[in-house]
Subunit: 142 residues, 4 copies
């Protein structure tokens, strides 16, 4: 066996708070999901005017970012027709998201989870997810 | 058209807080899900020692209680072999839960959502869900 | 964050070897799956005369034992009609197994994974899974 | 009836060993799946730093290569928009993979199985799968 760091609900709550702050700043109601290193959900919140379809999309982005250790935007770029990962989004029962807005959470080199946002444009979604990642990095420096 | 009351994320946060308080009192880490009247997820939290399988189960209980407007325990009682709802739990892609721990949220006669808890015994799960329902009823009296 | 032990492929290989030894002793070809603490597959082997249906069943047992932290037999006992968990096996997209043959792997109090066996009778399946668990406990004492 | 050759677990173990050797040489931890002529899993291994999402992807590649008797790369080429197989990857519950890294195993003209690798780039995945195929061809010459 080896020892690995594990995200707690308290960590997830702090990340969520930073995402909410940013979503408020840009004025877009969001669905936000946070998963652990195994891709399993820890925390999910849907703001009052966020989309219903984005419940599943936010979870898919968060799952993908944590379980594939890469941003969903990066997967999107290599998944257009003619690129090597084209078609990858039908894997994992369709949960593999290639739409921007999912970011991995690392503790040093070690993957510990992911944040997925949906309901704005993919660019807006990623800005909100990034605020969560930034807060998480800040937390680790204290 | 008609006007219907709609659960907000703020409502869900208050319900969740009451569930957490009760889970702390009985000393069991839980997965807790809160859905709206459409059966769609608003809020989900997994405590650090709650079960991974209970992520889906808590969501299923919450979905069922809100979308079928009845406690999952009540469905469990009429779903044993020979009873009229036997087999109902395979419907809705298996999300129809007949295990106690899912309770509907009403505003008067009107369904507005559901709470689903999982990770303890079904009895413990229902106690925690009930604490959420009680808090919601209290909120309506103010 | 908190630090938790994580099962390695080398651990899983050792557990698998012990299961194979026991399956050979009782003379039954098996499908055997080993998952980590997040319920995600690490290792799977199907012996030449093991059942095709048992590929999925072994994986479901292993998933359930690790992600619910309990033997699938224990879930089976509380899932007969009239018991509190009746109907729980339709959750988790039907991957929640209540058939004996899935056992959790603990490192002290901490869940680290699960073993699931299928293709014999459920009693035989559990004997083979138990051989894997025993080997894992032995490994921890060295 | 007719007699057909059937891959054994011992064959699969040898193929896996060759894949592991190559993955070590190129320095990428992989998820590797080997299926029989029916598309059914015989053997699966996830290395310690391989991706969680690649569990399903490796299985999908292996399934596709064996059950469609063609490399997943070849399917990728004819599945871009405007080409005849465009959209084929949503079939078979999304398990039909069109991402390189899945190769069929033939005994002469007869399909006997497939190897699927995932976690590197699709090119790296295919190199590792090819090492398995090469080893299998060598084995048949003895």
């Amino acid at each position: 066996m080896r020892m690995v760091p594990k995200l707690t609900l308290m960590d997830a709550d702090s990340i969520m708070r930073a995402c909410f702050k940013k979503a408020g700043e840009i004025g877009v109601d969001m669905d936000i999901a946070i998963t652990d290193d195994g891709g399993n959900l820890i925390l999910f919140k849907r703001m009052d005017n966020a989309r219903i379809t984005s419940i599943d999309i936010a979870m898919g982005k968060s799952f993908t970012a944590s379980a594939a250790r890469k941003s969903t935007r990066a997967y999107g770029e290599i998944s257009v027709p003619g690129k090597p990962a084209f078609g990858i989004n039908t894997s994992n029962q369709g949960k593999f998201s290639i739409v921007a807005g999912g970011l991995p959470l690392f503790a040093g080199e070690q993957i510990v989870g992911g944040v997925g946002c949906s309901s704005g444009t993919p660019d807006q979604d990623e800005i909100v997810a990034q605020a969560g990642v930034d807060a998480f990095l800040m937390m680790q420096n204290y």
